[in-house]
């Protein structure tokens, strides 16, 4: 599965379409945003991909706790790492977007803060793992912390920002999807952008996992 080409070719095709249609396709003309609304295919897609990677990561952490398979632990770790990378890219692209539309690169907006807190919690997961030398202890305690880190995504990203007054769409209980996303954008975002970026992250994670396994084999 990891070595098959079909989903990798699919990934490239999906992203090529996302980039092309993303800039040439029609978008609604909204005040403040203007053409930057196209960042939806990049900034928002980064976050959705991150969520998917963190879900996969926690599933493998649970699998490790149930089966003791160190391979599951490697999967959990690498998906968490790539999730963190996509999250950082999400913060950076969001900050750039905010600089041009909200007038400031950082506004202490609830969602901005929530996202950074969530990422810090996951970074602490990496620090925690590195503080232990015994492999099984590292995997076991890491897996438990991973579940906690995943649980923290709920209040920090999905609940509290939607309850407060926010510059992001969705504040004060509103709809986070720009209040009914335009159907032209929806047709690019959901079938192409999100799967495309997610597959790219999966591809990179698969390479990291294979490299890790190679290194372990060589050390035997």
């Amino acid at each position: 599965m990891l070595r098959q080409s079909w989903w990798k070719i699919l990934c490239v095709a999906l992203l090529l379409y996302t980039i092309t249609a993303g800039f040439l396709g029609g978008v609604p003309a909204r005040p403040i945003l203007h053409e930057t609304i196209r960042n939806l295919y990049f900034h928002v897609a980064m976050w959705m991909s991150m969520m998917i990677f963190f879900i996969i990561s926690v599933i493998y952490s649970i699998k490790y706790l149930r089966t003791g398979s160190l391979l599951a632990d490697i999967y959990a770790l690498e998906y968490a790492k790539v999730g963190i990378v996509f999250g950082i890219l999400g913060v950076l692209t969001g900050s750039m977007w905010a600089g041009f539309t909200w007038g400031a690169f950082w506004s202490n907006d609830p969602k901005q803060l929530g996202a950074v807190v969530a990422l810090l919690i996951y970074l602490a997961y990496l620090v925690l793992r590195n503080s232990m030398t015994d492999m099984d202890k590292r995997a076991r305690i890491g897996a438990v912390y991973n579940i906690f880190a995943f649980a923290m995504l709920f209040p920090t990203i999905w609940i509290i920002p939607r309850m407060m007054e926010s510059l992001h769409p969705g504040g004060l209980g509103g709809n986070p999807a720009f209040n009914n996303l335009d159907s032209r954008m929806r047709l690019i975002f959901y079938p192409f952008a999100v799967p495309g970026w997610t597959l790219l992250g999966v591809w990179i994670t698969s390479l990291r996992i294979r490299l890790q396994l190679l290194q372990e084999q060589r050390h035997k």
Partner: protein
């Protein structure tokens, strides 16, 4: 008490929306003089360059995996 201003906010936002479409400026100039295609071409070039790197890495790892067997 706090709900009232919040409700007003959503009302105002919606009022802005319905009249906005004709007056919001978009990058039609870039589209008119064809420069938008340069934007797309640059991004596609960067993207393909990154993909090329990932493909080469993938092949290198596959080769190493075969050797280690």
């Amino acid at each position: 008490m706090l709900l009232l201003p919040a409700l007003f906010l959503t009302l105002i936002a919606r009022a802005q929306d319905s009249s906005g479409d004709q007056t919001v400026e978009m990058a039609d100039a870039l589209r008119a003089n064809g420069k938008i295609y340069v934007v797309v071409a640059v991004l596609v070039a960067i993207f393909l360059g990154l993909i090329l790197y990932v493909v080469r890495l993938d092949r290198k790892i596959s080769r190493l995996e075969k050797e280690t067997k």
